[in-house]
Amino acid sequence: MKSLSRLMAITRKEVRQLSRDKLTFAMIVGIPLMQILLFGYAINMDVRNLKAAVADEANTHLSREFISQLNETQVANIHYRVNTAAELEELLRAGEISIGVAIYPDFDRRVGDNSRAAVHLLVDGSDPTTVGVANGLRNMPIAFDTTHEANKKGLIEVRPYYNPERRTPVNVVPGLIGVILTMTMMMFTAVAIVRERERGNLELLINTPVTSAELMVGKVLPYILIGLIQLALILVVGNILFDVPVRGSIVDLYIAASVFIAANLGLGLFMSTAVKTQFQAMQLTFFLLMPSILLSGFVFPFDGMPVVAQYIGEALPITHFIRLTRGIMLREASLGDLPFELIYLGTFAVVAMTAAALRFSKRLD
């Protein structure tokens, strides 16, 4: 009996403490809620609305009919019409589209010819699911309303770009860089300020001539270096073990990574000024990591997500970084091809860092 009352004393104390930690309490509700919303609602294996462009070199009644039928599947959403297949490749490389539809000038004749494809789908193979979706399109039922005898097979041929052998590591590693950097960078800095607050170091520091900005930037600098070392490690292992290429400029990749790391560190610092304990900082990191993995396009194709999920994804730095890494490493894109992504990351870093410095008052009240 004594043991039971002691046990209950511990339990009651634990519940009492827990109920006073508002953030932990919020997480008890927030984490399952977020997960079920993410997995049940936002994540859609049935991909729709992939961005597409068409180069209709035939421009006949039949080819226009084909395009309208393709549009009706809602799998591909035609955003651009261009003149040549070369222009499709350009759009693909810049990440503007996931699928390019190239229709040959002799489309009408090829439709009746079983031995040759009439349409080529140029697919961005740097996004793992897109190729599968495009392959699905190959089997779409096409019924031309003319009496034209269409060939049943081989009307559409899929041509995956950038990862023709469709090896998983090639798809995964560029995104994985983003996930690893998000995880470690945010975790390191989220605890940085709050750790010193817990240990009492902060009361000493704020009494010295150190300014908030000096403290913030000074804390962040070593972690940028750590992040770049992590990047090198992933690239080397990825290349040696899995033959993952870096087709674009390695300098571009490092510039993108530096800005991305700064953005994550800024976010981490901001979190650190907002929480009271290291435990809360870890919880918040975990809370932000889930959407970073699921809504960034790392696992599920971005275009397939509902609009709300896409907005959340767009807000996360990792989404933009994954676009950059896939572009630079696999599609041989340069930073100039993807200017918006870099500008977003840079702005995010500056805003987060400034917000952290402003929140971190050198006063105690």
Binding site: L202, P209, R363, D365
Partner: protein, 313 residues
């Protein structure tokens, strides 16, 4: 008044919600002296110190520290003051020397002089053998010496010490105070908060705080000479019985038991306090000897912190 003041505060107040942590505090701290804040926990000592170095914004009132208006120009003040927190606040995972070096860099101490300054401090504060030891593994007294060394490294004109000796043994406290006197002789002004009477007694001047209000200030000698109380010391075989008797006397302000002795505080306005106590004890058949004693700082403390309660009653 031509005495140079290191700190001059007028009407300094800090409210936390309904709590008046510090209530209209006036303070004049002369330069190159040790000024003490004596008061129980929660009397507003830490809050006052934090307002004086710009860590907390006063709800009301103003303070000039070293001729600088704290509220407006606290960043100018920081390089001129040294601050020692109640809790050890140096980096436990850095060595003694690394902590000192870090502080030197933070205060932009001239690089060429840093090494010799650190050696000087290690020597002065008896930390030479601990120079490559992690600060987190030092003993209480060593930690405190390191904290003081860090607080004075940049040669501040004013040192603010918030209960610096609350975690150290009596010998370390004695050594610590010897160091403070050396610093004051060198021209440093020191403001130190404490709840130890023996420490308060060492200060040149002190202010007694109670519930955020300054209830008395002056030199320890002046305070002891002007308690407004007659102190009767009672030696009794049955101190508890004697205490019961004395406690019932309407004119007695306070009774404190110290072993078999009782210290009885009676307002000076009461004539023949000794005789009154004697007779009261005899009437109740309590055997005891009594005599008039000099006021200690503890008597002062009891006398001044009693007043608000008496007035309320």
């Amino acid at each position: 008044m031509n005495v140079e003041l290191a700190i001059r505060a007028r009407g300094l107040s800090k409210h936390f919600g309904d709590l008046r942590a510090v209530d209209h505090l006036d303070l004049d701290v002369p330069k190159a002296s040790i000024y003490g804040f004596l008061g129980p926990n929660g009397s507003g000592k830490s809050t006052t110190i934090r307002m004086l170095c710009g860590l907390l914004t006063p709800t009301e009132g103003s303070a000039d520290v070293l001729g600088i208006e704290v509220l407006k120009r606290s960043s100018e003040l920081k390089p001129k003051i040294g601050y020692m927190t109640q809790k050890f606040s140096l980096f436990g995972d850095l060595t003694v020397t690394e902590n000192l070096k870090f502080i030197a860099e933070i205060y932009s101490f001239p690089k060429s002089e840093t090494a010799s300054r650190i050696d000087e401090l290690l020597e002065k504060y008896d930390l030479i053998d601990q120079r490559i030891q992690f600060a987190g593994t030092l003993s209480g007294g060593q930690k405190q010496r390191l904290a003081l060394a860090c607080a004075v490294l940049h040669k501040p004109q004013l040192l603010l010490l918030d209960e610096p000796t609350s975690a150290v043994d009596p010998q370390s406290r004695r050594d610590f105070w010897a160091n403070l006197f050396r610093l004051a002789e060198g021209g440093t002004t020191i403001l130190v908060s404490t709840h130890y009477m023996d420490e308060a007694e060492r200060c040149h001047k002190l202010a007694i705080l109670d519930h955020g209000v300054k209830v008395a200030d002056g030199s320890p000698e002046d305070l002891q000479a002007s308690t407004g109380m007659t102190i009767v010391e009672v030696l009794a075989d049955d101190p508890y019985g004697a205490q019961t008797v004395i406690h019932d006397l309407p004119f007695v302000a306070s009774v404190t038991q110290l072993g078999i002795r009782l210290r009885v505080l009676i307002p000076e306005s009461v004539d023949d306090a000794l005789g009154l106590v004697d007779r009261a004890l005899k009437n109740r058949n309590v055997t005891a000897t009594t005599h008039i004693a000099h006021a200690t700082l503890e008597d002062v403390f009891v006398a001044v912190t009693l007043k608000p309660a008496e007035q309320a009653a």
